[in-house]
Symmetry: C2
Subunit: 341 residues, 2 copies
Amino acid sequence: MKNKSITRNEVAKVAQVSPATVSYVINNGPRPVAPETRKKILDVIQALGYKPNAIARNLRSQRSTTIGLIIPDNKNPYFAEVTRGVEQMASDSQLTVLLCHSDHMLEKELHYVDVMQTERAAGVLWIPATNISEPAIRMMEYGLPHVILDRIVKGAEVPMLVTDIFHGAYLAIKHLIDLGHRRIGYFARHVDHHHSAERLRAYRAALNDSGIELDESLIVGCDSHLMGGYTGVREIINRSPETTAIFAYNDVMAIGALRAAFELGIRVPDDLSIVGFDDIPQAAFTCPALTTISQPKHELGCQGVKLLLDVINQRSNPDLEIQPLPVKLIVRETTKEVKAV
Amino acid sequence: MKNKSITRNEVAKVAQVSPATVSYVINNGPRPVAPETRKKILDVIQALGYKPNAIARNLRSQRSTTIGLIIPDNKNPYFAEVTRGVEQMASDSQLTVLLCHSDHMLEKELHYVDVMQTERAAGVLWIPATNISEPAIRMMEYGLPHVILDRIVKGAEVPMLVTDIFHGAYLAIKHLIDLGHRRIGYFARHVDHHHSAERLRAYRAALNDSGIELDESLIVGCDSHLMGGYTGVREIINRSPETTAIFAYNDVMAIGALRAAFELGIRVPDDLSIVGFDDIPQAAFTCPALTTISQPKHELGCQGVKLLLDVINQRSNPDLEIQPLPVKLIVRETTKEVKAV
DNA sequence: ATGAAAGCGCTAACAG
DNA sequence: CTGTTAGCGCTTTCAT
């Protein structure tokens, strides 16, 4: 199974033209080619099944058609969907995508930055696993164009593209308030990154803007999995039985909460409304009775590629660099109006 | 942000050796280098931050360190997990992975085969979207080494690696039979590929081996989503109210079935046991009360890379080519013993 | 143990 | 409008 393929020179020989002319046809330039010559060459290319060698082109032209994508873990459906968007947009732009998993480890991120430099990738899209800017700094040193997706990393002077986490969370809380809820719990995730900070900030802001006094005991720290929401419900009911709604960090926690509510005989949504982000869309999918905030994951990937292309071509617009993508509130039957207290 | 990096010649100049010697150090061969020379070179490499240019190496050596992975859709958690395994094993083998989504379309598969040939990928791992062998044939024409994952495609004389779908399904049915179940429904998915065929075959075989007469009315064609299982339960209860167990094509259908059962007042597992494959692990995750058959998705990816490397190095062992990977039955509390009729 | 040199397949500048 | 040619950065053979 040796892969010895047709070269441009062979095409030139058969078509009885110079190799350069073949290139001009393939690249549609930089020089014009007579229509009949072009046709002859295209015919030979077709007949021989010639496929230009991207490796040689990249070497010669000193530019690559490959971009790197470094994500924490493709098994997480959130990242999987971003990945899908990236690959689609890249493909539309004639780029290929090298996939790298940091496995939530800084060390691996740094490793893959080196790999991307070795591969001379045209650029890198990076969803950071931590809030450490070292990988970004290294890419800068290498002169590797890059864009940070979905996180804000301090100390990195780099274009970043995020979804409007704050606004999404604000919408959710506002929605609950508009329905008459006053005692709204927040299942927080105590991890030091952009998403958790923004969600908590929105929770405080929305309550404040509606003149509702913040009760710190309604903020329950949970882990981000099913059991987090499950134990969270028991905790909050214990702390404050008159809670009428819960805003959960993500939909997995929301589902855990839902189950705990059922077990405790708390009717959802009659006694308790639950809202969460669709970080892990399959979770909401298997439990469609939740209100979720839909994040543009696919769009994030697509726009990320576009922005990266701008950076590569040095026409990135600083004004647009941290303009967050809009989110959408998806209201299902779980949120219910309550009588104002 | 120009990416003008250090070259091997610059390293050679600074270290006052010939470029060739630098190569011998980087590649650990093919010629030996004096320890002190080596050290000097390594120091210079370190000091200058030299990273060998993979593009140039690939061109010169006529072998690539990149493999292609063509999957239907990375958003499907099943494929996402396979992808994870592929990337991990590839990384361990110093390979990079180009990710391609066929989006379940033959046309796109063919497109990406062309892209992989243009990129002169070392090989391709392919999870077919259809049972059409055209992409495989094209790869053969190109001389592109490749391995088919997770499907058996007829008419393609290619190494294929699959999980033991038949055995998994057989285990599940046998498990139910051993618990005393006699009227076991099967929620089938009528799509023409390996998985559905094997699962149905196992259903028939397990019943037959236990001397249970097959009742065709217990085989319900469903679509593979929540609603499939949901309507399936209503259908089967209608056809045969004395059904005590259901084997669902996948766990999403199983969850749909679970919900329908609740709505109909059928107690699970007391009145009805439900078993499904973990095609979409998040589904089972959000609903841990199901018995599932665990498939080695990550392992499939890892082994796929290994097999591909064998094919590339022309030492693929035909005996191992369609040896299926073992699956595991994960029994949770949902299956319950019933009194034999 | 090391240096010199010939390309890998291509792009693009230079020369008609 | 087209042919010739000089490399891109590297691997590896041929010398020494």
